[in-house]
Amino acid sequence: MLLRHTPLKIQDRKALSVNPAKTCQPIGAMYAALGIHGCLPHSHGSQGCCAYHRSTLTRHYKEPIMSGTSSFTEGASVFGGQANLLQAINNIFTIYEPDLIAVHTTCLSETIGDDVQQIARKARDDGKIPDGKHVIHASTPSYVGSHVTGFANMTKAMANYFAESTGKKKNQINLIPGYVEPSDMEEIRRLAELMNLSTVMFPDTSGVLNGPQTGRYKMFPPGGVTIPELISAGDSMATIALGEYASGDAARTLDTKCKVPCKILDLPIGLQATDRYIDALRKQAGTDVPTQINFERGQLLDIITDMQAWFYGKKVALAGDPDQMIALSEFLVAIDMWPVYVVTGTPGKIFEKRIKEVTRNSPYPVKVKAGGDLFLLHQWIKNESVDLLIANTYGKYMARDSDIPFIRYGFPILDRIGHSYFPTVGYRGGMRLLEKILDAILDRKDRDSPEESFELVM
């Protein structure tokens, strides 16, 4: 057994985290920053943070992940990291020539209290930042929140640093897609464009982290939201933000700073959440929903109609990021599956409330935990098993030990491809999710059926 030490008996743990369902803020900030065109993320701390974040993102995307680091030594940790950051800014603009550097902090630089904004001002005063180039920053202490918080903080920094209100509204809306895959961001924008809306979407990692093999490496690929677009976000008609945890703060910042009204929705995962997204777009656009979108919705519904026998009544255990878990749980309920255990590592009060809300009609008692870990989830499963497990790659150890059908979903996925290319948002994304669920469940049935009831047609 791979997780041979996980006991049935659940002991209360107050200090020990085992097999976390989250990681730290800076990696989320680094991912978000890669969604700005021409941006080099920069990690202000020990170089190990940067190495770990780059490695994990690289394994998840199988794409180059570039970032600078301030490479703190013991001296910098005692005297502050100003000299390191100034030198880094100078080196990065000289050697790699990005349009902007997006600095995020670490537990180290936060603990010693480095003021990145002041250091960036000094860099500007010292002439280390070429004209027309930028240094932005987000404070992302690793000992607060999770990678989702870091993503939210960097996304908010984009609005904070760039968005300007000229007083003249532009016929466009802001889309804040949340901590989702490049493929999802692409799909979120495609749906908005089908509704005839002009959009500024930030961050936007599509085209950056799912780029083509061309035989030529480009440190700054064509994708990403541009700085002029970010500036214009302050003049947009409205903001549609997806996922309270990852996008809420940025949306509210735009509202306060530039008086751009915002609507914060769930991630458009599954039927109803996508319905709400499309409806919001429709109201914003003031037009009818085009045939194409109705067609896609109908296709999703068709799969649910045709295959409901396989979904009906199945119990599911889920672990992942809060915005995803909320929308996904709602989708599972919509297709007559029952999320029975739902865990996120990210702390936050609304999570448990929302999960309880979407599963309120469940025939089973639903166990839900924010700030939980995979060890606890596995203990729940060992006490009473489920028909399906949905989690990131670390879930496969539980799935193997407890022999449960398993779908990789969330971050990180280190052992399969697809997530960066094929969305799970929108109606089409819903179809992909259903295909994955059916594959997992039916492959298991094929494996386990006795010969006489092994079926050709399913």
Binding site: A15, S17, N19, P20, C24, I95, C107, G215, G345
Partner: protein, 551 residues
């Protein structure tokens, strides 16, 4: 850049002047950066037998240069202690450090039975929050240790400090002592905060110190068996250690411990009963070897099991050391048995790989060791460098006395080791040493990488992203070996990239069968069809020659 049609003529090395290449690597840098980097980029030249130019290594990384280096915590928890299955490794800090070092290094392990401890699939962390940053984390650490003990009942717990721990002044060592006494198990701490030293190398040293001071020598039971050895600096990536263990066992050696691939706490505790330490990765583990020599009188020998010739050479060297005819015969018998398949594979792969160019930037030691394998299939390693090694790994241990100890290295504790009053037992008499010297068997030496590289090859320490891109552009190598962070920038440039930290998903590559495995891996990569597809047909022939007309 290096796409297929241009690559055909990539081996035209004579046109490239190494000095000019070096200028190309550094002339875009700000002057201070260029000055520093120019000392870390050396054009190799071997004089008077083995003398090589001086290279600057193990110095601070330049902020913002885009390095591939990691930190002290990564070297300590991730590299050296990570592969030990039955020590419960508890990270004291915010969640990230523990999360990123959870199962990501591909160390394989094989517990003896279903009830044996194996914590490698688990990640344990105190998940430090802001209240601990403000009020201190010792209380939470103590409680976490207690909870870990109550649930998992490990025989030992290691505590690994992350950056904030040192800053807020948590004393992990006193917590370890206190909790060890309370729970009656061995608990020890590592002050491996990420900001210490200049790379993961400092973490190796701290791990060596900790394991030596707290575990080695706890079990004096002498195992039965002849030719008792420890294998040091082998981490069982992709199953390498399994191959080596099987081979050593077949030869008749008794393996007392491995530091630390496929290892267990009990093996470390007993490791001082061995006669000889064999070192694979000199950089990460030479400290333990030296300390074992000083305290217990165990000599060490540098060996290499990567590459068939290197494996044969190493086996012969160890057999010669023991000077036992039966052992020598057995080793020769095994080499004779294994080599035909190796030679057959070499010949086959050579026909497709001969003359192709490789670059290796990893480690440690692998940038050196893997040069042997490439040579065996006729490939040329035109540039290599380490990520975190020291001058002795490049130039040989003779330079040790002349290495200046800078502030960053001084911060890493050097344990003061004395002969153990009861257990010190020099394994070789004066006569033995004389005999070994006559046979040319060198103990406690490592000649470094550069003396094995050809004149004019580029040796680059802590290569930056910019330099990586330039080297690929200028040399158009047929394969580039490095780590995960470089992987896709290289492949997006149209050059196959082999990870030599984690082996991608491959391995084992050690000893004879592993070498064959690696030959074919390189063959698959450098001769892959995929590189011929990069240009679409219409990009190759963009002219429009005909059109359909319906009018």
């Amino acid at each position: 850049m290096a796409i297929q049609d241009e690559k055909q003529c990539s081996a035209d090395l004579e046109d490239l002047d190494p000095q000019e290449v070096k200028n190309n690597l550094i002339n875009k840098y700000p002057p201070k950066v260029a000055r520093k980097r120019s000392k870390q980029i050396v054009i190799n030249k071997i004089e008077k037998g083995r003398q090589v130019p001086e290279i600057q290594a193990n110095v601070r990384t330049i902020p913002g240069i885009i390095t591939q280096r990691g930190c002290t915590y990564a070297g300590c928890k991730g590299v050296v202690l990570g592969p030990t299955r039955d020590i419960l490794n508890l990270t004291h800090g915010p969640i990230g450090c523990g999360f990123y070092s959870w199962l990501t290094r591909r160390n394989q392990t094989r517990p003896a039975g279903p009830d044996d401890h194996n914590f490698m699939t688990y990640c344990f962390s105190t998940d430090m929050q802001d209240r601990e940053i403000v009020f201190g984390g010792e209380k939470k650490l103590k409680q976490a240790i207690e909870e870990a003990y109550n649930i998992f009942k490990p025989k030992a717990i290691g505590i690994f400090s992350t950056c904030p721990v040192g800053l807020i002044g948590d004393d992990v060592h006193s917590v370890a002592r206190e909790m060890g006494e309370k729970l009656g198990i061995n608990i020890f701490g590592f002050s491996c905060e990420g900001y210490k030293g200049v790379s993961q190398s400092a973490g190796h040293h701290i791990a060596n110190n900790g394991i030596f001071a707290n575990v080695v020598g706890l079990d004096d039971n002498v195992k039965e068996g002849k030719f008792k050895i420890n294998l040091l600096g082998e981490y069982n990536i992709g199953g390498d250690a399994f191959e080596i263990e099987d081979l050593l066992e077949e030869c008749g050696f008794t393996l007392i411990s491995t530091f630390s691939g496929n290892s267990s706490y009990d093996y470390f505790a007993n490791s001082h009963t061995a006669d000889l330490n064999l070192i694979m990765c000199h950089r990460s583990i030479n400290y333990v070897a030296e300390m074992m020599e000083k305290k217990f009188g165990i000599p060490w020998m540098k060996i290499n099991f990567l590459g068939a010739d290197a494996t044969a050479k190493s086996l012969r060297k160890i057999a010669e050391y023991y000077d036992d005819q039966e052992l020598i015969d057995k080793v020769e018998e095994i080499i004779a048995r294994e080599m035909p398949a190796v030679l057959k594979a070499q010949e086959d792969v050579r026909s497709r790989c001969e003359g192709k160019l490789a670059m290796i930037f990893v480690g440690g030691s692998r940038a050196h060791h893997y040069q042997d394998i490439f040579k065996e299939i006729g490939m040329r390693v035109i540039s290599a460098g380490y990520e975190f090694a020291h001058r002795d790994d490049y130039e040989g241990r003779e330079v040790l006395p002349s290495i200046k100890i800078d502030a960053d290295s001084r911060n890493i504790e050097e344990l003061e080791i004395h002969e153990d009053p009861k257990r010190f037992n020099p394994r070789n008499s004066e006569e033995d040493l004389k005999r070994l010297a006559e046979k040319g068997i060198e103990l406690e030496t490592y000649n470094g990488m550069m003396s094995d590289m050809s004149d004019g090859s580029m040796v680059i320490d802590d290569i930056s992203q910019f330099e990586t891109e330039k080297m690929i552009e200028l040399y158009k190598p047929d394969i580039f070996c490095a780590g995960i962070k470089e992987k896709y920038t290289v492949q997006k440039s149209g050059v196959p990239m082999k990870q030599l930290h984690s082996y991608d998903n491959g391995g084992p590559y050690a000893v004879f069968k592993g070498a064959i495995n690696f030959y074919y891996e390189v063959d698959r990569m450098v001769n892959s069809k995929v590189w011929s597809y990069i240009k679409a047909p219409w990009q190759k022939n963009p002219e429009l020659s005909a059109r359909y007309a319906y009018e």
